[in-house]
């Protein structure tokens, strides 16, 4: 690669985080530290029923046993600094908490934040088709388009509201896909989750709008423990969008979310994420630790769950959106682009667990690493003994934009049924000099050529995102690549 492009890549890798600022909104915090009292405080603060408090306490006790035996997950290709769980405040809610009828009533400071982020909250009235349930720190602040959703019997609200208004549904499904015993961070989340989103699509309903939640980490020193539960009843369809960005902090912020999805017979859930948490400065200080457990179960026959993600932020990403294909003829999909630069570390991928008959899954993962970053794909395809005619196709491509970064692929294939057809392929390469030469020959500048090539590399994934998101994703990727050059 020529010096020119090397210099360019350095600039890209050194580019500052664009969305780093801090909104000054008063918040109502829990005392710093993790103990049974913290769990009780959160539960009381949220006015939760007894059974939920009990569930939280069970999770807490399990977490304590894991913590005492030091069972932090260490298998990932990540260097995780010791996290002081006693130095975090586990609950923070914005003090002003009115229910808004229109956006005009919202705290102007908040609106200003969104404006600077480029989140189209104000455009919502024009952009019919998006309902935004904004999560500022941990509590839902605004929900719109409820009327439209109500008409169809769709429930889309904050988790806390769902606990109050639809306790039966929450009780029935909470922890069904991700039990509190699932892993270290899921146990922590189950004990101290503050809020999140809840979504129920009734039988036969095709959700007319794309449901969208913007998550933000705002308060300094607050861990974010979101919990999302999506239930798609028989024959329903929903497309769910999640996007996030966070203000610049010098202190590491822990984010351990849990997302659970259930799809009944003939239901389809499409879950798209753009993740752009603060990645830390050039030395990797101050970025978000993003330890997320996302899992969906295709409970019913012919159901489908599709995960699409664009991961560009966080200093450490530990995330494996997975599908359990329990229903016959069920389908699981995972499309991912992970871009790391600076000192970012990402270990992300998926698990496809084939249990039902005639199930199929597709995994397409694209990793781009630059600077001093480490980017790993880790995925499991498991075909159980009775999963007749299971089909999987996996493709994991990596691209390296620099000679000090790493790209790794760790696929696990576990096959126990002879009728399974499982294919995995992976390649690693850099942006070809010949490709850049060809573009330059056609009068395309080097930066544009790199953008073009990287965009082409990720095209398959970005095409999976809903329209609004796809545009945002492409811009984000371009900004990430461009850095200070653009």
């Amino acid at each position: 690669m020529s010096d020119n492009s090397t210099e360019l890549l350095h600039k890209v890798a050194d580019s500052e985080y664009k969305y780093g600022f801090y909104t000054d909104i008063e918040s109502d915090k829990a005392k710093i530290g993790l103990n049974e009292e913290t769990v009780r405080f959160i539960s009381a603060k949220k006015n939760e029923p007894e059974w939920l408090l009990e569930w939280r306490l069970k999770a807490y006790n399990h977490f304590v046993s894991l913590m005492e035996s030091e069972k932090t997950p260490e298998w990932a290709h990540l260097t995780i600094p010791k996290i002081d769980l006693q130095g975090i405040s586990y609950y923070s809610a914005p003090k002003q908490r009115p229910e808004y009828e229109s956006l005009n009533e919202v705290d102007p400071e908040l609106l200003n934040t969104f404006k600077r982020l480029g989140i189209p909250v104000q455009e919502q009235e024009r952009l019919v088709g998006i309902v935004v349930d904004v999560v500022m720190d941990s509590v839902s602040v605004t929900t719109t388009f409820n009327a439209e959703l109500d008409k169809n019997g769709i429930i889309f609200c904050s988790f806390g509201e769902a606990v109050q208004k639809h306790p039966d549904l929450v009780k029935k499904y909470l922890g069904r896909v991700v039990p509190y015993t699932d892993n270290y961070y899921a146990a922590l989340n189950s004990a101290v989750f503050s809020d999140g989103s809840f979504c129920y699509i009734p039988k036969g309903v095709r959700c007319p709008v794309e449901l969208s939640t913007y998550f933000r980490i705002n308060e300094s020193g607050t861990g974010q423990f979101e919990r999302t539960l999506i239930i798609a009843d028989e024959g329903s369809y929903v497309s769910y969008l999640e996007g996030c960005t966070a203000p610049q902090r010098d202190e590491n912020q822990l984010h351990a979310a849990v997302v659970e999805i259930l799809a009944m017979d003939d239901a389809e859930v499409k879950y798209s994420t753009i993740q752009n948490w603060y990645p830390g400065n050039a030395e990797g200080v101050g970025g978000i630790f993003n330890f997320v457990t996302k899992r969906g179960i295709c409970e019913g026959d012919r159901s489908k769950i599709s995960w699409t993600q664009l991961e560009t932020g966080s200093s450490i990403t530990w995330k494996y959106p997975s599908c359990i294909l329990k229903g016959d003829h069920s389908v699981g999909e995972f499309y991912s682009v992970a871009f790391t630069k600076g000192r970012q570390q990402a270990d992300t991928g998926t698990k496809m667990i084939h249990l039902g008959k005639n199930t199929s899954s597709t995994i397409i993962s694209k990793g781009i690493s630059a600077g001093n970053s480490q980017n790993a794909y880790r995925g499991l395809v498991r075909v159980n003994r009775n999963a007749e005619n299971a089909r999987n196709f996996s493709q994991c491509d990596s691209m390296l934009l620099g000679d000090r970064c790493g790209a790794h692929t760790y696929p696990y294939l576990e096959i126990s049924n002879p009728s399974a057809k499982v294919e995995h392929e992976a390649t690693t390469s850099k942006v070809g000099e010949d490709q850049i030469f060809y573009c330059k020959q056609r009068g395309i500048s080097e930066i544009d050529a790199i953008k073009l090539i990287v965009n082409g590399f990720c095209k398959e994934i970005l095409a999976q995102l809903p329209m609004e998101f796809a545009v945002e994703a492409r811009n984000l990727l371009a900004i990430e690549l461009e850095g200070s050059v653009g």
């Binding site: 790209a407 790794h408 096959i415 399974a420 499982v422 995995h424 392929e425 992976a426 390469s429």
Partner: protein, 431 residues
């Protein structure tokens, strides 16, 4: 001596035989063995939590009762490769029992390791136990600690051995626990082919834990074939460590057709520019066999090429494991590394675990891997049926063709023919 292969007993035994405390008079070889027992003591036998033994539980196996023995028992078994024109060697309990054949000419030294340590002390001092990475595998560390003797093959500089060296690893002491060692040094510009055969010997629940070290000097070429056909009660751990110098070529073909639990730990270090490494492997697992191929190609230097292909057929209640890792270090620019793993599952009680890994720290590289698992191609079966071929025969034909892709890469006719015949026998029952 009857013993349990329990970690602390093994360490105690080492202390009695050699002494855990370093003495000033100790040779560098003894000190290396002390390092090895320390590495083993730190790691212990791999348990359930071990990532590299994730799919291969060894606890039950290593806890059985074995007899420690390095007796050179005589054997009269006929060897499958006897008719091959080459230099034939024979081991029993892992120790060389045939005297070096006469008339193999100049430029080749074959002896036991003990003999070589006095007659070839400089070569032994330079190479023995230097390729093995003690921390990588506790079994290799254990074998390094206990290895007392083994086979030494030294091909002198510029020598092209036209005919292969065939090693028959025949007899095993009943319920024996042996830890043999082989050191192969191919000097600059030399060329050698080595064929190893582990024939079926009914020695009860034997435990063979071996380490083979191969040093391929500049511009040298080593071609290696191992055919493993041990008994279904046998635990066989095969540690191969290959070190390559500039412009050298190394090729191995590891064919596993027998054994209760077989773990092939194949490690390659192309440690200079322009090396070529080819790793091929085939396994057929039936009954309750458990075959695990664990490979690591450690690209440490630029401009090297590696190509890996493993194929496996599992049936009955057998388990097949493939864990291949290609590591490209930061300075290993212009590396081309390919890896492919294909497996066929024939029975619903059989299992395949594949974990093909790429770990890459250099940007100007071309690396890829592919892994497939499935049953036989329905279209191909249908085609053969339309030609009037019975289903069983069609199935056999396809399975043999699948397996022969690997066997065809061996260029010694005698070995190839033998494997064709054996595959036909084994697969006829499965098809």
């Amino acid at each position: 001596m009857e013993m349990k292969t329990n970690e602390s007993l093994l360490i105690e035994q080492f202390d009695k035989q050699i002494g855990l405390i370093a003495s000033e008079s100790g040779s560098s070889g003894t000190n290396r063995r002390r390092q090895a027992i320390k590495a083993f003591a730190d790691a212990g036998f791999p348990g359930k939590k071990s990532e590299s033994y994730k799919y291969t539980p060894v606890t039950k196996w290593v806890n059985s009762h074995f007899k420690n023995s390095s007796l050179r028992i005589q054997t009269t078994t006929k060897s499958a490769f006897e008719h091959i024109d080459g230099i034939h060697l024979r081991t029993a309990n892992g120790q060389l029992i045939s005297t070096a054949p006469e008339g193999y000419g100049e430029g080749l030294t074959i002896s036991s390791l003990v003999e070589a340590s006095s007659s070839n002390s400089d070569v032994i001092g330079q190479y023995l136990s230097t390729a093995v990475v003690l921390e990588r595998d506790p079994f290799s560390a254990l074998a390094t600690a206990f290895a007392e003797d083994g086979v030494f093959i030294h091909v002198h500089s510029g020598v092209d051995l036209k005919s292969p060296i065939v090693i028959h690893h025949d007899a095993l002491f009943e319920n024996g626990f042996v830890q043999p060692r082989i050191l192969i040094v191919a000097e600059k510009g030399s060329k050698v082919e080595i064929v190893e055969h582990f024939s079926h010997v009914e020695a009860g629940s034997s435990f063979e834990n071996r380490v083979v070290e191969v040093f391929v000097a500049e511009e040298a070429e080593v071609d290696h074939v191992a055919v493993i056909e041990r008994d279904s009660a046998a635990l066989f751990v095969n540690g191969l460590f290959v070190h390559q110098a500039e412009k050298s070529k190394f090729r191995t073909n590891t064919i596993t057709l027998g054994g209760g639990l077989v773990r092939n730990n194949l490690n390659f270090l192309p440690d200079a520019e322009e090396c070529e490494t080819h790793l091929h492997g085939l396994y057929v697992a039936k009954g309750k066999m458990h075959i695990d191929n664990h490979t690591l190609v450690d690209h440490a230097k630029p401009n090297c090429f590696s190509n890996e292909m493993f194929k496996g057929i599992v049936t009955d209640e057998a388990t097949g494991v493939f864990n291949g890792k290609v590591l490209v270090r930061q300075d290993a620019q212009k590396t081309n590394a390919y890896q492919s793993s294909k497996s066929i599952v024939l029975d619903r009680n059989a299992q395949i675990y594949a974990k093909p890994e790429l770990e890459i720290y250099a940007d100007d590289v071309k690396c890829s891997h592919g892994a497939t698992t499935g049953e036989l191609d329905e279209d191909a079966l249908f085609y053969l049926r339309t030609r009037g071929i019975k289903p069983e025969a069609a199935k056999l034909m396809l399975l043999e063709a699948f397996a022969r892709d690997v066997v065809d890469l061996i260029d010694i006719d005698g070995v190839q023919e033998y494997l064709y015949r054996r595959l036909h026998e084994i697969l006829t029952v499965s098809a």
